[in-house]
Amino acid sequence: MNWTMFDTWIVIVGALGAMACALPGCFLVLRRMSMMGDAISHAVLPGLAMAFLITASRTSVTMFIGAAIAGVLTAVFTQWVSKFGMVDRGAAMGIVFTTLFALGLLLIVQAADHVDLDPGCVLYGAIELTPLDTIRLFSRWDVPRASLVVGGALVMNILFVLLLFKELRISSFDPELATTVGVNATLMHYLLMTVVAITTVAAFESVGSIIVIAMLIVPPATAFLLTQRLVAMIVLSVVFALISAVVGHLGAITVPRWFGFEDTRTAGMMSATAGLLFLVVWLFKLVQNRFQTQAEIPESETSAHVSPDT
């Protein structure tokens, strides 16, 4: 293994992105909207294409704005279709994001004469290349531009969760109660969706959408299995995201060599590591539940299964 400054930066960017995603991801899992990240990351395609067609430039600011708008629109359209059409939310999400994706493909084909918009780049991201694109900070340090982007997203999400923690918690668990005590649950929903959209766009531009989708869901779900307290869940999921990023990159440059291959894509390995963590925790809980059940049967013969809720 040959660890360089490059690898350090890749891990830093990956970890920042992963933690930025895990924060809003906790609330997505609690609100049963886990697939939103997936939907948004596919649906930004027309936003990117439109931004390019309108401004005819490939600066990242216009692309970012276009993608963010498309992301928020995905959430809004999904809400409309499921509310006005009385459609199951999963189905509404599926229709909206596939339609937007198809629209994006068409637009990209139209724009393909002038521009190299590679859909593969959107999907996999190019986290390995991030250290090449640097910005000089305070005219002293060269830092990758991507680390600033995902770092900014992380700061935004930390502030979002800290400042609106009470409102987020109550509107995630009980929207009706939230409305009665004067918290606007609809506003919180759209605010969360906006934050998810911005995070998704910021992160996939730097680290690829596969990390975004995985980190929005898998670390929060892993933490959800281990605790019933929201604060603990958020902290644990951030820790899991961090571990996945570090171990994932290590895995990307070592694991394939064990089998005689070259190294592989970090993004894929990071989400695979998150999955491995989930698998370990899941099996641990299964074994634990099995032992608890066996221990309890002599005492109370009624409980066939132990509910971790109580």
């Binding site: 999963g90 198809a102 989400s271 999955g275 989930f278």
Partner: protein, 508 residues
């Protein structure tokens, strides 16, 4: 109904096969190789190339070519996408009703590591690695594995369906991306072509793809038709199904297995992401048109088929546009129209029904208020109610109306001929309005009496309770109430005719 459908599907497939069997002579006319597979693999970009090689004889001619399926390649693509649309519409219906629409999403992403792993194994075993059967076997294997994991996570943890699907989707896709990364750096193989599984390569489908799609269509269509009842009971009430002795677990896995089969064959055709639309959109669109499962199945299949046909046809006419995206957009347009106008659950019909009910409620409230006002202003309680002008302000205080809402109600009532023009600040019921008002009040009181007598509700509370139900009392219900409550005073007071009423024949 069921056998009829099955026969229709068989005829369709036979016809399609017949059409395609004509191919060799036609293609040799144009100087292609005689075997369909060779001729197509020779020029992969598909009918984009064909359209370029055939001299352009005008748009009308092109249109006729596409509509009449004259060209072999166009015919292959259009028939394949149509079949794919029909079959995914069928199985998508059950996924939608089971609230598992996004399962197609999870499934299709979960196939990627299978494709990549199969490729690696094939290459390591010394092959070229692009053998379709191997790749699809790998895809099916990891797709099914992912599906079982979703069910396992859902059944053994507190996590819900959506999170379970999200975990499987992202982790499997991540592993797939990692494996693709390995393939890219393998010196002995090129990964080019595997990407087509993500974006689809509709235009360059070959005979084998069509045969595969046709087979899966027959199997899935046949299963959906034969197992409609079983799938329906699992979709609508899983607990009831298992209490009746149905093998719900098996049916669940079978349903998802069929979905997996459609997803895997759809990967080649429209790509990993757009196949999701195939599974969701036609079924959701069909839901707006009907409340009946069989009708919904047929409609969903038809919508899927039409989207596949129309999308592929347009793509064949304008070679620059990718077929997969066009098919999805056609389906989405059908969905948008259905969502707005579908008679069963569409937005506009629902809005109209609601508006009609609201108008009826408003009218009945107004008429009852006016009638009760007339009742109260009688000099003595046993005198008959007379239709006199009512002071506008008295009426305003009767219910919690605002000035505006009362004026609006009166305007509607005047238009409906229930209220007459009358002097300033007074309101007067018309002849028909007076009769209608008496009828409304009568129904209200019948219901109140019923509630007092049979539901033990205190007379002081009964007004509000009756208010909620009286607007939807049908004629049958009113007859039952009359029979139940009986009594002379309830009979409508029509004086008997002063002359002999002639028979129908005598009158003419």
């Amino acid at each position: 109904m069921k056998p009829w459908l099955a026969i229709l599907a068989l005829i369709w497939c036979a016809g399609a096969a017949q059409l395609l069997a004509n191919q060799p002579t036609r293609s040799s006319e144009r100087g292609f190789a005689s075997s369909p597979i060779e001729s197509l693999s020779a020029q992969t970009p598909g009918h984009a190339t064909i359209a370029a090689t055939i001299p352009n004889t005008g748009f009308i001619n092109d249109l006729a070519d596409v509509l009449l399926l004259r060209r072999y390649n166009t015919r292959l693509v259009i028939l394949s996408t149509t079949l794919l649309g029909i079959t995914s519409g069928l199985i998508g219906t059950f996924l939608l009703l089971r609230k598992r629409s996004l399962m197609g999403d999870a499934l299709s992403h979960a196939t990627l590591p299978g494709i990549a792993a199969a490729f690696i194994f094939a290459v390591k075993a010394g092959g070229e690695g692009k053998d379709l059967t191997t790749l699809l076997a790998g895809a099916t294997f990891t797709g099914l594995l992912g599906m079982l994991l979703v069910l396992a996570i859902r059944n053994t943890t507190r996590l819900k369906d959506d999170t379970a699907m999200g975990i499987v989707l992202s982790v499997f896709f991540g592993i797939g991306v990692a494996l693709l990364g390995i393939i890219q750096k393998m010196p002995e193989a090129s990964a080019a072509g595997l990407e087509s599984f993500i974006y689809g390569k509709t235009a360059s489908m070959v005979w084998n793809d069509f045969v595969l799609i046709a087979c899966v269509t027959v199997v899935v269509g046949w299963s959906c038709i034969m197992l409609t009842k079983e799938f329906a009971v699992v979709c609508f009430d899983e607990g009831f199904a298992s209490s009746q002795g149905w093998p719900t677990g098996f049916l669940d896995v079978l349903m998802l297995g069929l979905a997996a089969a459609v997803t895997v064959i759809g990967l080649q055709a429209v790509g990993l992401i757009l196949i999701i639309a195939f599974l969701i959109t036609p079924a959701t669109a069909a839901r707006f048109w009907t409340h009946d499962l069989q009708t919904m199945l047929i409609l969903s299949g038809v919508i899927g088929g039409v989207s596949g046909w129309l999308g592929a046809s347009v793509s064949a006419l304008f070679p620059g546009l990718p077929a997969g995206a066009l098919i999805v957009l056609v389906a989405a347009s059908i969905f948008a129209v259905s969502m707005m106008t579908g008679p069963a659950r569409g937005v506009i019909p629902r809005y109209l029904r609601r508006a009609r009910l609201q108008r009826k409620v408003g009218r009945q409230h107004l008429l009852r208020a006016m009638y009760e006002n007339l009742e109260r202003s009688r000099p003595a309680p046993d005198l008959p109610v007379e239709n006199l002008p009512i002071q506008f302000d008295d009426l305003l205080q009767h219910r919690s109306w605002t000035l505006r809402s009362l004026n609006k109600l009166l305007k509607v009532a005047e238009w409906e001929d229930h209220v007459e023009a009358s002097p300033r600040n007074t309101v007067r019921l018309s002849e028909s309005g007076f009769g209608e008002a008496a009828r409304v009040v009568r129904n209200h009181r019948l219901w109140e009496l019923y509630l007092i007598r049979h539901a033990d509700i205190a007379p002081s509370h009964v007004d509000r309770d009756a208010d909620m139900v009286e607007h939807i009392l049908g004629a049958e219900m009113v007859r039952q109430l009359e029979a139940e409550l009986g009594g002379q005073e309830l009979i409508l007071n029509v004086p008997s005719s002063p002359h002999v009423i002639a028979d129908a024949e005598g009158a003419t």
